[in-house]
Amino acid sequence: MTGTREIIARCESLFEDLDFGYAREWKAAQAGRKVVGYMPFYVPRELIHGSGALPLGVLGGGDQLEVIQGDAYYQSYICRIPRSTIELALSGRLDCVDAMLFPSICDVIRNLSGMWKILFPKVRSFYFDLPQNFRDEVGGAFYIHELEELRGVLAELRGRGIGDEEIRASIALYNENRRLVRAVYGLRSREPWKAPSSEVYLLMRAGMILAVEEHNRLLRQYIEASQSEERPRRDNARVVVVGAFCEQPPLNLLKSIELSGCYIVDDDFMLVNRWERGDVPEDGDPVQALALSYLHNSGDTSAKYEPDQSKKGLYLVEAVKTSGAEGVIMAMPSFCDPALLERPMLQSVLSAHGIPYIAFKYAENSGQMQPIREQAGTFADSIKLWSEQ
């Protein structure tokens, strides 16, 4: 049996490979293969996979990439992820990507879709608008059209149409993927010492790169391996991390949170991995199935409108309850309007429910972890003190 160490080593090398070697090899293995990049927070990967292409999550350059050209495209008061993403592309690291999808998350990603059209005219840049109206005949009708348009773009890319059967098969694979992802999250929230967050993070990041079939295998192996390995259990505070749904925190930040005495038992790092809360129906019209799942059975985040005021922010309270967390760490990228404007509303909901929290900002290339470690450490201590009283 493969051990967790081996599995995570594989994930780590995928994570560190800023040249996307896996995607290149995958593409080269068979003539005509396409790679379709996508940005946070959500795209229907089933359609990409159904077209035979490899969906490739592009989440910026992290703290390992030296951004040289990217800075010339962005003012200092704009977050890091667009500049490092541009850097990845300008330096040729993304030249295996045939199309890029930019979902509607914020004005920065939105404008990046247009920049892509100008800077990389050979790559099909597609802005993917998600509905903010959740009625079937209104937002649903619009969204089905959007999905069909995307299906058309992907069909054009591969040179022939995408059959319903192909999409249904992909839905089944991604359903399995989401079940496994949820199983890993469940495992971590039950026995966080057996699935440290830095490992879970790398495992989830691997899902941004690997073909879903391979990611499913890896997830299964990890679940099995982590169950059978004994690891020291610490008296850590259990926290949910929220706000990192787009620009990713450096891995060291997660390690620092853990080292400071916190178990992360839930997070919103890569929402696309478990956006749908349950299985997407595998029968019937697959595009409609995807649309209805988005409308009625998907997650919540800042970029998605909450029509019911009384429910605003409750997704976080729910995450705290289901994961058995004792507090929340709001870790949000500097200059991120969606995260930082959501923050006061989340804070007020948390206060109303008596859930303690702390907040800080980061950048994907933050190097100084000491202040975060101290802040998280004090938070963990106060939670423990609080629970003892």
Partner: protein, 429 residues
Amino acid sequence: MSAVKEAVKDASMQKQKEMIAGNYERLATAKETGTKVVSTFVPGNLNELIMCFDMVNNLPEINAIQNGMRKKTGALILEAEKRGHSEDVCTYVKADLGMLAKGNLGPDGRPLPDPDLLLLSYTGCFTFMKWFELLRHQFGCETAMLHVPYEGDGSFSANMRDYVVRQLKEEVIPKLERVSGVKFDIDRLRQYLKESARAEEDLVWVLQSSKHKPSPIDAYFGGTYYIGPIFTAFRGTADAGEFYRLLRQEIAERIAKKEGPVTPDGEIHEERYRLVVEGPPNWTSFRDFWKMFYDEGAIVVASTYTKVGGVYDLGFRHDPEHPLESLAEYCAGCYTNRNLPSRIDLIETYIRDYDADGLLINSIKSCNSFSAGQLLVLREIERRTGKPAAFIESDLVDPRYFSPSNIRTRLESYLQMIEQKRSTAAAAA
């Protein structure tokens, strides 16, 4: 200036002043008069529709601008930050929330009424949604969301149009009816739209008058004043129609007399530079900012900011024959709802059509919607037109981000660049 010109200018200016004061009066007395209040944004503003329900329109951005010009926003922003709002986020939002925290006194010093409806026209900016969620959190009132899809591929598809129209029919209008108690009358809407289209015709004429040499207007600083009625609570009213008629007359006279733009310090006599400007202005030091330009004889002949509430110069007019479809098209076509390549194309056209010397970008810290991608806009415009472009940075209503010396230096060296370009061209000719 002749007495006649003064009178005409005064007439339009006076008119706008009265209109703004009238709207704040309606807001201040809304509770007494039983008038229902709707808060909504400038881009994608559905003023004609709101009027169909006898509601009064309160625009948070305009309050922030008015407060900014009165130099009140610095303290309001600090108040919001003290209450936990991040220093990184849009300062319009913080100026508004700070104003609420300090008793919700409007720019005229009188209390603004709580809104009965938050009408979120979600056009061209993601921050709008967060802003309205924060306001809803505060007021707990009814909210109607109108999601206007972004023109990512550079056009407004039938699917997008149908989506917006369906939302208008099934979400927005029923809520307006419920809150106001007034039944929707589509013929009333047509009537207002007819009035809008007439005024829009005059507005376009005014904005395009800067193709003349010398330009009779400044299309950025002066432009903010010309767009006022149409972008805010007056589009569709007879008052707005009259304002634009007066304005057009005044400018026609200036053209006939070959007069330059009027500034707070009087008329500009020598037009030395013709610029296109991208991005909103700074409001807290608006007059100082403008002065830096007119002191140098730099006239803005076209600007993108005067298109945030509608790009009418590309031909769009509200259409009484297709009222709801036309509102949908209007919302989608606002400047920041157009993709970056379309924005660049528009600027390029401006440089050529208005015979401008170059492009100046005022990059606003607050506004990702405008700012993200502007450095590419700058490069592209330079590449396509061969005209020099320059970049300055400031903020909308946060005085901490307006550095007069930096901006003046940048502007001066930019104007020198234009001079150099001219002498090189002259030498080559």
